[in-house]
Each structure stands twice: as C-alpha cells, then as structure tokens.
Symmetry: C2
Subunit: 263 residues, 2 copies
C-alpha cells in the first residue's frame, strides 16, 4: 500500500524524466545514456535505471549505450522461435514478391508476412502500383520504385494499419491485378482472422483482384480465427513455407487453389 502511494504521488523527478525520454524518442530514433544524463543533470546510472524500467514496460528498446524507439508495427518478443519464424516469413515474402509483374496494380494487406513481402518487393524494385491499408507496407514500398496508395480509415496503433468503413469504401473504387493477404488462421474452411475489422478488409481485397494470393505460415495451418475471411474457392493461390498436410492439401486441390511453396 505504501508502495502504491509513492507511485501515485510519484517523484516528479523520476516520472518527468521518463516522460521526457519517451517524448524524445518520438523525435529521434535513438537516445544515448550519456547525453540524457548530462541534460537531466543526473548520473548515468539513473538514466540507465530509467531505460531498464521503460524497457521492461516495452516502451523503449534497450541498446548498448542508449535506447531506441520501439519498432513501429508490431513485434512481439524476438526470442529464438520468433526469429526462426521470421526467416520463414521472409521466404514467403520473397516468393510472393516475385509474383508481381512490372506495371501491375496490387493490393497488399496488413500483417507481418505482408510487410516481409513489401520488403522483398522494394528490393526487387518492380515498378508497380500498390494499394494498402498497412503503414509499414506503405513506408517500405514508398521509398522504392512503387507508387503507393494508402487507404483511409481509423488508425489502429497495435497493428499499424487502418480499418473501418472508410477503408472498405475506398477499396471498392479499385480493381487490381493481384491482392496479397495474410490471415491469422487457415483451415479447410478458408482463411480466418482474429481481429474482426481486418476480416472485412481482406474480404474486400479478395473481391477486387483478379489473382488472389494468401500468404500463410505453416504454423497457422488448421488454426481457426474468430472471423471467417473467405472460402478456399476465393483464393487463386497460397504461398507457404511448407506443403500443407494431406487433409488441407486435398481440400486445396478440390478448390483448385495453387500451392506455391517458398524455397
């Protein structure tokens, strides 16, 4: 109880300092311990303790000698398994990016796998027009040879993407050659998504594209998310890191969905 009271009233010095750190990191990608120690007139140890505390809360990313702003987009912990997953997603992304032809128009969904694809596409430098509701995708492609149209909508910080009726209204105004979507689950019933607003966006993209690609990590095979995105028949192809298991594979063949295995 005593502890809580301390916190409630708070030592101005400490909370204010940490607030400053967070504000600073919105302006600059990286701050140094030594620098802040000088500016605040405190010892480096104090700043170090601040960084550690903020880091525990996930508000900053610790680095040697300083701290960086936590990545935009979403990024769970980067433990062993996650890093491994990233490699698989990268393979999927690369393979998917190769599907885009020069001068084509594409829609790109939000999600970590599609971000990987955007990276690969930026690297390939394929001139094309991309429509997306994902901020990281827009930012990644925007530096390259692609023209990027960003969808309107309500901004969701957790996903770094926009959703909502504005997004849907916007999408129906376009027809594209291809769309690339991800999903949080994929079963015989088709892709499904846990974040409800996103399911509608993915569905809308599927309706506006001639070729419809699902980028899906094998870890999600068989998993069913909250909201149904579409049937297997709504897909032209899936880009995966591993061949699906028999049951799913048969369903895919029955629905004449092409399976593209990356690598």
């Amino acid at each position: 109880m005593a502890k809580t009271k301390y916190k409630e009233k708070g030592r101005f010095k400490k909370t204010e300092r940490r607030r400053q750190i967070l504000l600073e990191l919105k302006l600059r990608p990286h701050v140094r311990i030594s620098e802040l120690a000088t500016r605040f007139g405190v010892s480096t140890e104090t700043v170090r303790r601040d960084f550690d505390a903020l880091s525990d809360e996930g508000l900053v990313a610790r680095a040697h000698g300083g701290a960086s702003a936590p990545a935009q987009g979403h990024y769970p912990t980067l433990d062993e398994r996650e890093s491994a997953r990233i490699e698989e997603r990268e393979r999927i992304g690369v393979r998917a990016a190769e599907l885009v032809g020069e001068g084509e128009t594409v829609m790109i969904d939000s999600g970590s796998t599609t971000i990987q694809m955007a990276r690969a596409l930026a690297y390939l430098g394929t001139p094309c027009t991309a429509i997306t509701n994902s901020i990281p995708v827009a930012m990644t492609l925007g530096h390259g040879s692609a023209q990027v149209l960003l969808c309107p909508g309500e901004y969701l910080a957790a996903e770094s993407a926009v959703v909502g009726t504005e997004t849907l209204e916007f999408l129906v105004r376009f027809n594209v050659d291809r769309c690339f979507i991800g999903s949080s689950g994929f079963s015989e019933e088709g892709p499904s998504e846990s974040v409800r607003g996103f399911a509608a966006v993915k569905r809308s993209m599927l309706h506006r594209a001639t070729h419809r690609h699902l980028l899906i990590d094998s870890a999600k095979f068989g998993r069913k998310g909250l909201a149904h995105v579409g049937d297997l028949g709504d897909l032209s192809s899936i880009v995966v890191d591993k061949r699906p298991t028999d049951g799913l594979m048969r369903a895919l063949e029955a629905a004449s969905v092409e399976t593209v295995v990356a690598e």
Copy 2:
C-alpha cells in the same frame, strides 16, 4: 570512371550484407555491431564501416554500439541549429495542443511542427478525434487517447504523408472544430507552401474547419513558398514562437487574425 564500374557490378558480399542490415532494421528497432559481425562472420570494423556508409545515406541512424532504424517521418540532420529550432517548434506545438478541447474534432496537417503538436497532444491525453494526412502524426496520436482517421492518398516517402485527389476528396466529407496547418512560408499575403500537392491539402483543411490555426516558426516570416495556400483572412489565429515584425503584425491585425505567442 573506373570507380563507377566497380560500383555498377558491385561486390556481392558488401551489398548483400548492407541489404541484410536494412532488412533487419525493418524488423527490429536496433541492431548491434557485435551481433551482426558474428552473424556475417566478418570483423566488427567491417560492420562499422557498413553502418557509417548507410548512415551517410540516411538509411540508418548510428548509435553507440549499433544502429537504429531511421525515424519515421523525416528528420533532417540534428545539428546545432536544427536542435534549437526544434525547441521552438516544441513550444509552438505545446501551445497549439492546448487549444484542443475535449471531444473536439480536429484536422492536422503534415510537417515537423505539426508532429510536435501531435506529441504534445498525445502527452496531454485530450480525448478527441483527429483527421490527418501525416503518418507520423497518426502514429504519435494513435497510441494515446485520440481517435485517428487517416486520409487516403498517394504516399510521399520524403514527407511521410499522403497527398493527391483522394486526399482532397476525403477531406471534403468532414467538418471539424479546428484545423492545424503548417507552411513553409508566411508573409502578408498569407501562408505558402513549397511542395505543390500539400498546398491543396492545407487549403482544403482550412475550408472544413471552424477555427483555423497556422503553426509557424518565426524563421519563416516573410518567406514566400511556391504555392499560395490562402489569405490571412482565412486564418483564425497563428501560433508562433516570436511576435511578428511590424509590417506583418499590422497586416494580421487588419485581417483580425489572433496571434498566439508560445511561452
């Protein structure tokens, strides 16, 4: 000439390594020299040289012991003068953020001053709805108590904002309590902007808002940008760091524009 040829063909090792660094930084906010040196099987000096090169190109932000992803939005060099300017912009931003009442709807323009305002507004935690064409503004506010509507449009990487006909079409659908715009110049003739596409967006925001605020740094007084944004009469108030000089001040009074001096 010989030099160019080397570059053209390129050493795979180097370019590939640097590409990996950039890719890694899209996933993580910070990478360490020592870590990459191990992973690539090269010396730390080599990685350091890579970082320096990438840093010169503005593709990464150097840090002690590693490098961070360059900040979203655009931040020119942080030399002495720029840092000083930032303080002034921060004052302007804080003052402007105080103008927003709870539950109000606002439009926020793109630009470094408005990013500062977004920071201050996020800090204040004023519940409100913001419509913006600036990615950094959306990302900053999106984490807080504000609801953020992002405009559609073509994404301009250099400004981290969207522009174009889609943006304009979107804006006319809304009416808001206030708008906050910046500009690259400000004279007796009113605000002006060097990036042509942005002038139209700013103008559109001015038309949709009851209270129209211009956030302007005193260094821009008297400067005239390429495109005219609007007349002095189109503004309700200007938020500045210093009182304008006589000639401009008189013009402002004649147009009954309120002058808010920050600090």
